[in-house]
Symmetry: D4
Subunit: 226 residues, 8 copies
């Protein structure tokens, strides 16, 4: 049924993650068992954890039947097995988000980067309707090797941040919004249209992808870039 | 062929404007003649000028056959007859634009507000990729009774401005842009999705409509609002 | 978690509003507590109320644990703390809506304008399929300093109204509709395409934004404009 | 190459029309020859003319090589052979259009209905931004057996008319417009979303289709319906 | 709250219909009461029934508290008060639908035309994937003064029918479909793009609008047109 | 109510399938009865089974009241009556899918091809993020007479496969995805845009259509094509 | 600059085709030279010709400098080198098109299938607005191993044909159309939504892709299938 | 008119680039003069060159009047002043493109990264329809610190590459394509939907933005990463 890509950690530097919301509990449990059996066959726990994304509590319980030590973060809907975070290396990944409602996706991005071995920081609620909140955080933002800028609605946060810093910005649109902004397409278009260079956009609500990309970007950077 | 709405100045406070680009030179000329004849019948020049928008040089020449005194601004592609601007009343209308390429539309908005009787000011090239340019202009922006914020591409300028001022902001998307921003739809969506309240959006490239709305908004305000 | 913009009332003339539907009950309650604590620190109730929009009964109850005196309007799904409306100043804001189903959004717009200090009036059900209903209300419409025109489906009401009055019209599309009009995008496009000038469009179902903009527009106007 | 549907007049009451803009001059000329040869074979001119739509002057000249008597209307870009209009029967078809720029499409609709045998009338420039222009024409509109309402931009004219009359309204969106209204899709959506019943919509700029449908609708009606 | 258009029957030949799904039960009941009171004031039952569309069983019960004699058709989700159908006049309205799933909308169209006074007929399940089913019904289709062609998915039925008959065709797209056809937009586009003339399109799932238009079209026609 | 196309097996080589999700249980049961009665009239079971697609357990039970021997596959949500698969003829149909979540649609395609008489094979989870999984299966893929490539999200699988094989590829987009990929439109567009020739696309989630087309394509091919 | 896929004929059964319209004349000429040099190195002309698609006369002349014997079909804008068609094998590929304007794309499909070794036939102008034209050709259509159905505007031809035949249908939408059908997207959606199974859709105006797929489909079929 | 952001090099590590296609020749020349004057005021040439993007030959000539030493690359439509490339530091930026027609945009990305100080390499024409071309280049791709993957049409190249490497991939969609792929939106959607993590997407045809982002990403990396 599933054909796991166990070669991925060697090839890409990070193991395959399991997107759980479009899979049944039974499918997720079977995948967890395959991961356990693979680890047993190789005789040691993997160096980097496998991440389970968009994981609700029920499926998390089913996975723990197979992988008892899995860590589970409810806000980010994310599981990690083995649970231990690798000692951080590389530059700082900062996740900045525009509003309170963007927090679950922002937290998914942050956790992903941390489980891939980067030091991380989360700055919530610095939407551009009150610019002083963002400007106050400029020194922190400028220390980063990569910034994940999370926003729904008008999606303008990444442009404003990118215009103020020297490091790359990963733009992460969220589906938070209503009217023409419903579903996040409007935010994604804004981010692709950003007039400041230095921005790479990921799919709407793809906190995992944003965190993964940020961890790759910050891999070679020093701990503090300024 | 055309059925001019000569009652509009009385009913709405401003005469009907003539959108010229979708009309033939012959049609435009006939409309100009009708305006002249109407003025002759009423025995006096109208208090407020009739505006001819999206007017190219060739059609402007044809209109001047009928209305010799028409003013013509090439950058804004706008004609005005009679040419005299009314003495300004009401609050200041500031037109702020994000980039050099937005200038023709911005200028159309500014001229419209001025011909409708408001004092105006134009601030070019304060796109949010370099926030300091905008912040330097905050005192001027805060004197305004209404700000027209003009932007293509990501269209984020109106949100950032509205978050800093107390007066209404008219958001004017432009068709300047390429890729997903081509045609201005992306900018229009951003502006409708703005997370700062106090913004009213007009159609893409509708400098006339933005200037008209701004002039109405600033009508009752004092010359300086702060 | 949340980073409230307490400076907004000073900077913009109105406090930050809290959009509640995309936040959890726990998040909303924590924000209410922060507002209470801020008021306690400053030693007096704020002059203008904080608005809680898209607020359902359950979250309203949670807020009242922190802010017992909050007013709550069920039709508009809106809370206000402190509950007292400021004595009205400025010109009349009229909210006119096309159909019975548009009433909740219309009421949200009206309440917002009132809590921001304007005198308001609501005219329900004057859709353009029966033009006489609109024409009968022309005298009332012409007294207004700003009109919020609310419509779903074809969204043609703002154009028809704007063509008859001298004051600005805020066009508020609603998601009422089905088929190609589902979700309100069709209404929003109609309003942006309006052939009458003097219209500023806000996001679909954004009653708060429309009321806020209208209150700003009517701020300097006399109580009766005609 | 072409396989003309000569049976159509018998089956449908009107001959096949030839849409010329997507055909080469050579193709159009060959079709004209086939029509001539078919008429020669049947020994008499057809009762109803064949219409050539979206016909420019160059192709019209090529057709006249084969069908010398073809009538050609430049404004409507339409040819008709044989040139004589059938004596009108059935109810009045009124074509009402919103703006000067909609005239070519409106004229195509009017001519089509006339060549299909209906009495017709054209009312130009009664856009809803100045409602009095429309209201003045109500008596004429109410005499009609079918009204073709032509509009670009916001496309609101058909709803307003349909709300005032008892006969069916054919809504004909035009591609006149810019910004979100460019190409006419916005007008088409408005017309499909019309809150007044009694409206059938045709494709953008499809003057021929609108005139054809109107002629069918008015076929059985008395000359004056009120 | 509601402002009923009681003048509509005189002005348009049919009373205002009440679209119930976007209204609360309380709103619907209040409207029913207003209709009863208006009838009581005028001293007689209206000649044509008021239709309640998209009416579920619960709201139907609430209406019957006010208007006890209301007829209710569950398949069409339609109520009618007074319940009696007017004796049919004018030409035959045929409603032809492509699939079993389109029946509720088709039935809404048929009932509407019947309550507006036309003789009607319903032909179910003649989708064009099996052309013989349609061809067998050609004689019935050709007797009609107007045909409502109902289809979801590819929406090709109206074109095929219109190509075979002399009467107007009302094209009624339905939201039946999945994938790119979900929601009915694909069907609506097909119908607007139809290469056969003589088709007027209404909004997706707008059975009421289609039946109303068909009844108007067939008003003057003889009972049998061929 | 339903008008079954019993002629289809003779005309097209496969009986009409019944799409069940948009029909009520009662409608589905009535159709099952009509199929049984038709079989009883013709005196023998049909050679090829009738398929019931998008069939949930409740409707399956209702059908079995009429057609007791119906086979039912829960994963594919598909019923078949009579239950026996025809002995396979023609070339191999391989169904390859990109992810675990695409399995239900993939299985629907496979079962359809098998019930239409082809030998089939299913290869799950060979998404292109781990190319080796696909390359390992190349020998199997090259034995096929037709490959159904199933993918949601970026929908790139069919292009990659088509570039490696000589047989036709049926591209089957699924609605598995989120953000800009939600609903499958993005996958469908990718497949239509494929730069490798030899691909025919079906509607999103149309496993039945893909399997049907594949069975037709493989009809004349030898059992092994390489 | 270009990196030709000379392995393709061995791997896929047909050589790489060169899409010429997005390449400069210089680029096309260099590719032609690379093809000539490759043939010279391998010492023999290839068995199947290389096709140059969307090739205008100027670029064709440039190619002939390198490949003097190239065949060039102006209507299909297609070149082929070597010029000789392979002796036909497999089943008949029929290309049926809806209108005269679809002929260039239809001819591109036909020529492609012929150069890939299939017997072909072209049936022009059998649009469904006159169904008899299609029905007259049913016997020819039923002899085919694969039918390419070409249509713009409403795009309904493939469904109607597929409903009448047992062989696969390749649906080829064209950009012929205007209004909502402009560019061919409407036709493509119709074809994906077809309610008749047995249809695979290719990109708009992709005559080459359609002919290629049809040739693959018909590869194993007998010369006459009925 | 223009308000250059001379602070950008200090703030962001790269000077402001001038997008020339939406500016008039006169505007471009004035900006060039301002750059020259600024350099004269600061007394030394800047360390990093200012880039002029989408620069045609005519505007390039106008710039050279002001900045005689400007380098100009015709294929990339890019100018650079001062002309000297900084000695490369950081990791290798590889630009890989799918087809010959994508070369201008790919070259713009490569030049941008080089002028920002990175070592670069360009791999043309490795589209996924012939996978071996891509697989042959894997060793080169794996040496890179960042890969810019350029593709139009189906836009699948970035996913396939990202699945094989450990470094970040910048996905650069191009407007090369036709039918549903016209304009590049389809490619952009595919890239955002990529099922392989590690991809950041930029706007369609935004070679400058892609090269800028890649240069930032590769800034801290060693010259060879594997």
């Amino acid at each position: 049924m599933a054909n796991l890509d166990f070669d991925r950690a060697a090839r890409r530097g990070a193991p395959e993650a399991i997107l759980c919301d479009a899979k049944s509990t039974k499918q997720v449990a079977r995948i967890a068992r395959a991961i356990r059996e693979h680890a047993e066959r190789s005789g040691s726990e993997p160096a980097l954890p496998t991440l389970f994304t968009r994981l609700d509590a029920e499926k998390a319980a089913a996975i723990r039947e197979e992988l008892p030590g899995m860590a589970y973060d409810e806000e980010a809907s994310m599981g990690a097995w083995p649970a231990s975070e690798p000692g951080p290396t590389g530059g700082l990944v900062t996740v900045a988000c525009a509003g309170t409602s963007d927090l679950p996706v922002a937290r998914e991005a942050e956790l992903t980067a941390r489980y891939l071995g980067r030091p991380t920081r989360l700055i919530p609620d610095i939407g551009i309707a009150g610019l002083h909140r963002l400007l106050e955080h400029l020194p922190e933002l400028r220390e980063s090797a990569c910034i994940v800028a999370v926003a729904g609605m008008d999606g303008a946060l990444p442009t404003v941040i990118a215009g103020q810093v020297a490091c790359p910005v990963v733009a992460l649109p969220t589906s938070v919004g209503y009217g023409v902004a419903a579903g996040g397409v409007s935010a994604a278009l804004t981010m692709l249209s950003a007039c400041a260079p230095g921005i790479g956009v990921v799919n709407i609500d793809n906190g995992y992808g944003a965190g993964h990309l940020a961890a790759q970007i910050a891999r070679w950077a020093p701990r503090e870039t300024e």
